[in-house]
């Protein structure tokens, strides 16, 4: 009991003791505003933490990003070298806008020229978000008032894609069932994965049901179109004993189920990795996944593929330099080439590495540095237009950059670095 009283006393006296122990003494201590102020508040991409790109059919590159409570859309006619004035797509009223590597404003350039921008706001007292959508039918000059994707709240980490027939698909992590379970006093691991689709350019969505329970609740969802035009999604799923591994599944034709499989068994019992997988589907219909794990079975960035709709995956193949914390990989299939990009950090410099594969992921070109900064930066993203793959990357230092990636020569790719060789470097 005495020990308890002393402990409590210690807790009470905590702040005073901490003053002595504080590493950072100086005038800017000891108030709520202690954290660094935003670097700038201009409506420009370099003042944002994230930038999401989309090419419109006319070749205009659109960026969606947020600064403070404003969500912006900005057009570029020269592949991101310069941007026209940013338009306020929405002003968030429901709390803090998700704008980090995993959860961020999104933009979709629809086939009819309309633009759809999404953002998630988290209310002051919870982390149950609301995904809001705004649309522009005048080329981004003005946007509609925000409409919630789902009534009620508990939705975050949305992702969109458009099928060749023009159907707009959305998937997101949804806590509705988790909230119900909590209300009933039951334990519930993670969130659920919900899918909706719209045939009127995002004005109305059908479906919107949770199709798979127990997704990890803090990792992005990735999406790609199957050869038949149905969407396939990758996310982190909570398995037995809180093990959290990548999972890939395809939406059934009737929109009622998600069917696929677990990518690997990494033995990672964890809380919030904040590190979702990335998915690509090539012209032959093979699924390609890149993901991060810190499990007992393996640690680092890995790649695997499936040619049977997720029933089985190739053994996880490591990539990146494990000494430099490789992470946040994106993978894309463009033409006959697979591209993957990721982040590394050596204590001072963040580098963006890129590799290509001309043989469906069996062998990869030597990693090349396609971006570097000594300041904060967004996750690297991949984007494609007219058979060219681009790195899309925002950094405080360089602002927004769209960088075309080279296509590996097939013969060369076969000789250079297998994933195993790279891992051993």
């Amino acid at each position: 009991m005495k020990a308890l009283a002393i402990a409590l006393l210690a807790l009470m006296l905590g702040p005073a003791r901490a003053e002595e122990a504080s590493p950072a003494t100086g005038g800017h201590m000891g108030h709520m505003g202690a954290a660094a102020p935003p670097a700038c508040s201009e409506p420009a991409p370099q003042c944002a933490a994230t930038a999401e790109p989309a090419f419109a059919r006319d070749g205009t590159l659109w960026l969606a990003y947020s600064v403070g409570d404003k969500v912006y859309a900005a057009p570029s006619k020269d592949e991101g070298k310069t941007f026209g004035p940013a338009v306020v797509a929405a002003t968030a009223t429901g709390g803090v806008v998700d704008a980090n590597g995993e959860a961020r404003p999104k933009i979709v350039a629809l086939p009819d020229g309309a633009l759809l921008v999404s953002y998630t706001a988290r209310p002051e007292k919870s982390y149950d978000g609301t995904i809001s959508l705004v649309r522009s039918t005048d080329g981004g000059k003005s946007f509609s008032s925000p409409q919630p994707l789902v009534d009620g709240n508990g939705q975050r980490f949305d992702v969109f894609l458009v099928s060749p027939k023009g159907r707009l698909y959305a998937a997101w992590l949804d806590k509705r069932d988790a909230a119900e379970a909590k209300k009933a006093g039951q334990d519930f691991a993670g969130s659920g994965v919900a899918v909706g689709w719209s045939d009127d350019g995002g004005k109305n969505f059908a479906g919107k049901k949770i199709l798979m329970e127990h997704s990890c609740e803090c990792c992005r969802v990735s999406a790609a179109l199957g050869r038949d035009g149905l969407p396939v999604f990758a996310w982190r799923q909570v398995f037995e004993n809180n093990l959290r591994d990548a999972y890939v599944a395809k939406l059934s034709a009737d929109g009622a189920t998600l069917e696929g499989g677990r990518v690997s068994r990494d033995e990672w019992a964890t809380g919030c990795p904040h590190h979702g997988p990335s998915l690509a589907i090539d012209g032959a219909g093979a699924w390609h996944v890149a993901w991060f794990t810190n499990g007992k079975a393996r640690k680092g960035l890995f790649y695997a593929s499936s040619i049977d709709g997720g029933k089985s995956f190739t053994p996880p193949a490591p990539f990146g330099d494990e000494a430099h914390a490789p992470g946040h990989a994106a993978i894309a299939a463009v033409g006959k080439t697979l591209h993957r990009v990721w982040k590394e950090f050596d204590g001072t410099t963040t580098s963006i590495l890129a590799q290509g594969s001309a043989d469906g992921g069996k062998s990869w070109s030597a990693p090349s540095v396609v971006g570097a900064t000594t300041q904060p930066s967004d996750h690297p993203l991949l984007l494609a237009r007219k058979g060219v793959a681009y790195l899309s990357w925002l950094s405080r230092e360089h602002g927004y950059r769209l960088t075309p990636l080279p296509r590996p020569a097939a013969a060369k790719a076969a000789r250079v670095g297998t994933p195993a060789a790279l891992a051993g470097k």
Partner: protein
Amino acid sequence: MHGFVPRFAATLLAVLALGAASAEALDFKPYEPGAFKQLRKAHAGRPFALHFWSVACPPCIAELPEWAKLARRKPGLDIVFVNVDPAADRARAEARLEKAGLGGGTHYAFADDFAERLYFEVDPSWRGELPYTAFVDAKGEAVTASGALDDPALKEWLSKTAP
């Protein structure tokens, strides 16, 4: 029954501590580059746990009351909490800490948005996954762990290092 009075006294103390904490805004000190090294120096000679958490991490929030219990159970262990959220989330972070009974603890908050550098200083292999804890024993030996307090490895460290 004989446990009632001490428990009541403890509750009273806890309420007082909470009252004191909520009378003025919770004191988040800036966690900047170099902080990990400086905190280790400041806590040299004593077992020390540096716990990183976020309001956007449900398992972190669910676990905060366990940390409050740990602090009570192990007075010989210095515990410092670091909130990794941006400044816009600070009020929410404060509310979570108060609710968990940690209003009187020692709290830092990320004050540099180049998060990779802050992660790297704690452990070059840390990508930012949460909850995350660095344990440093009295001799200065550090181990890091991503995951919950009920992880067997963490339990073992705690029972060995901070009895």
